[in-house]
Amino acid sequence: MQHRLTFFINVLVVMLFSLASQAQTGDTEKQTDTLVFKEKYGLRLGGDFGKIARSFIDEDYTGFEINGDYRLTKKLYIAGELGTEERRIASDFIDVTTNGSYFKAGIDYNTYTNWLDMQNMVYTGFRVGVSTFSQTQNQFTIYDINQYWGESFTDLTPREFKGLTAIWTELIIGLKAELFTNLYAGLNIQIKAMISQDQPVRFENLYVPGFNRTFDSGRFGLGFGYTISYLIPIYKKDKKVAVKKEDN
């Protein structure tokens, strides 16, 4: 239930942001002539503050991610994330801790037409993610609905499955808005599809760092990102904007 609630808050926040960012368009119409603006090109570096916040709130989670993108052309960015996560999943029957790090690389395509020299983004992107991790089964209790004997069996021997790897792809939809000069806040949703993963013997991966939790139903996963990043301008390029004058 709690997961569901956070999920809906996530969706709501993402939708509100996209509404707000669309409110900018439509003001530049009634002029002619050509204006030239300097557009910044550079490296934008940041971190995921959602993961840091969750590390403080959720005792079963510790995570950290740095991310960056580099502007290649007017609309195209190469982008990537590097992170580490530790997540404990515990129920009445199983208790497991996943620990590992991940790297994701890909491109972002900005679909948003910026006003003047701004560099806001409403983007879709694509990533390939890899993770190396371990899973430690802390304990498990045999699931038995027949309780005549009034006994249950709990295996308290921790088992560590080391050296597991996974590779997956992601489709990203998100936005980045410039809050102050060169400082950006961003939100994104990642829809993931597992390509391959090492499964522990007589067990399975319940969580993969970077991929998030796995589902019984198949290879798909879901993730959210909340980023703060800073643009380090490297060079500037002229941007010509054809503007229309009001026709009287």
């Binding site: 029957f93 699931y143 038995d144 004997w149 069996f153 067990f203 399975e204």
Partner: protein, 181 residues
């Protein structure tokens, strides 16, 4: 959006161990007619108790089966370690209602009697991963030499012979042991 809705839905479904999921199975025994080995035969007023290590009924108040005419029973097996030979004993009482019979003087009616047969099941538990919601289940591999034995001291038996259909108890779909009577 549909995709996202689908995710939420599967999230809920994954976290609860569905009743339909096969988890730790019980041993299934079916009763056949010794004279017509192809035919099922009800055991009249069968009552079943699990026996503790001292041979006493584990729970007098709540038997595994309470006085029923039946040709099929499910027995819960004990397990406290994986890959270790384990036994569970059951007392199968036929005509259990005769225990309470009294004659005209109010004494136990000696012309009718119930009949206890004690059976011992020998097996090795094996733990198998099911899913994130159900965790692990135990399945049972019946002992090759002595899967099921009757108490040797019992002179008045009603379970004439046993037949092992399947040495692996991994689901509750079909009987693993047949008893002829």
């Amino acid at each position: 959006m549909t995709l996202i809705a689908l995710f939420t839905w599967s999230c809920e479904r994954d976290d609860i161990c569905a009743e339909a999921t096969p988890t730790t199975p019980r041993l299934i025994i079916r009763f056949y007619d010794i004279n017509n080995p192809e035919d099922f035969k009800d055991v009249r007023q069968l009552e079943i108790d699990g026996l503790d290590d001292d041979g006493n009924p584990f729970d007098m108040e709540n038997p595994i089966l309470v006085r029923t005419d039946t040709d099929s029973i499910n027995l819960p097996l004990r397990f406290q370690a994986e890959n270790e030979i384990t036994t569970t004993r059951f007392r199968l009482t036929k005509d259990a209602d005769f225990e309470d019979d009294i004659d005209d003087d109010g004494n136990d009616d000696l012309t009718t009697a119930s009949n206890d047969d004690i059976i011992t099941i020998r097996y090795t538990p094996e733990f198998v991963y099911v899913s994130r919601a159900c965790g692990y289940k135990s399945i049972f591999n019946l002992d090759i030499d002595d899967p099921v034995t009757r108490d040797p001291d019992d002179i008045d038996i009603w379970t004439t012979s046993f037949e092992i259909i399947n040495f692996t108890i991994e689901n509750e779909n079909a009987a693993q042991i047949n008893i002829f009577h």
